[in-house]
Amino acid sequence: MKPQKKTAIFFLFISISLAVIFLNQQGLLESPKKYASFLMSAPSKVAWSVAGRFSHFFSFVFNIKNIYIENSDLKNQNQKLLAENSYLGDFIAEKSILEKAKNIQAQENFSWQIGRVIGADAQNWSGYIIVDAGSDDGVAVGMPVIDENKILIGKIAETGKNFSKVLTIFNSSMKVAAKIQGGDVFGVVVGDYAKNLTMDFVAKERLLTQGEAVLTSAKDGVFPEGLVIGTVKDSKIKPENIFQSVNVKSELDIYGINKVIILTKF
């Protein structure tokens, strides 16, 4: 085929693509997209569960060295925590009754739906998973999604009858109002396409230490307060900037999640 004809065909397909993008911007492709996702959800569910069984074996083999190092670190950390625990014991005893009452009251206001992960985006840098709970299960767009340890995963971005797409915190369009544990430092956590989390708009005066917990602050009205986002890794303070930028380390492994908790009411 002549190069000119190939170029013409290429630009024809580009034009069709631009038309499709335009139709999507106008919201005219929502039904076909949902129908396509519905058709794909069943085979994806099967593929995900089969893969899970194989991956456990392979990840064990490849991670033996990491497991040994992690075990040594955890033992050291455990000893430090035991020493702290004895010191804080008295304070904890006094606060525990008040904390339990507060937690129970908070938890009683949570309604949730369990969702099983059945797929992920085809390219892993956009941080996106698919679960098998949808509008038939009471799930709606915007609902927060956490794991069983109350670590924030993200929020519901799209729903179908029996599936939903979860936009994770690593996606750059997700912005989460956050605070440093202790309650006096606030900011906004944003992901990027390379699985990094950054907390912006943090007051420069507050010096942060590595390992301080970063939690949701509920100031955005999207996520309840107190969900774990990660820990402080390091921070950048430039004299000419009004705020400091904090790198947040997340322990969340998106592709290791099998079940999620969708907060349908909080």
Binding site: M1, A51, W125
Partner: protein, 171 residues
Amino acid sequence: MRFFLLSLLLLSVFIAQTGFLPNFLISSAIPNILFVILIFFAFGRFDFRELMALAFFTGILLSVYSGSAFGADLLAVLASVYLVNFLAYNFFGKENFFVFCAGVAVGSVFYKIFYFGVLKSYELSGIAPISVPILKLIAQVSAISVVVNVFSAAILYPFLKKAISLIQNNK
């Protein structure tokens, strides 16, 4: 019939890529098997219109299941496949294992550049509320993705040759 079989092949690979492969990350990257197969097709095995139609179909699949702005994958796939097809006819010469791997590497680099370029244009035009630190992403994300794609291409090459010869015998 052949186009139908090829579309079915791509759809099956797509299900594996979204449902199976994320559990087997290689240094935080998933091989883009769909793209590797398209590059294989781009080395002159099919009519150019068929190739573009398959690239369009693949791009639509990737866009629907992508967490980023709709259409970026679609445009990036079309542009990369066209470019590799152009290079295959005008530069690479006769296709073999090493030429194919080189094509995958070049195609993957251009795919990332086109993909993040489209996202950046979305950001600048306000179409999507995203933030794209384009140079940082190309450096951080693209390098390992290219390596992973070439590694997958090296493993898949003999199987793809066999599969395509079976499909072409059914035309």
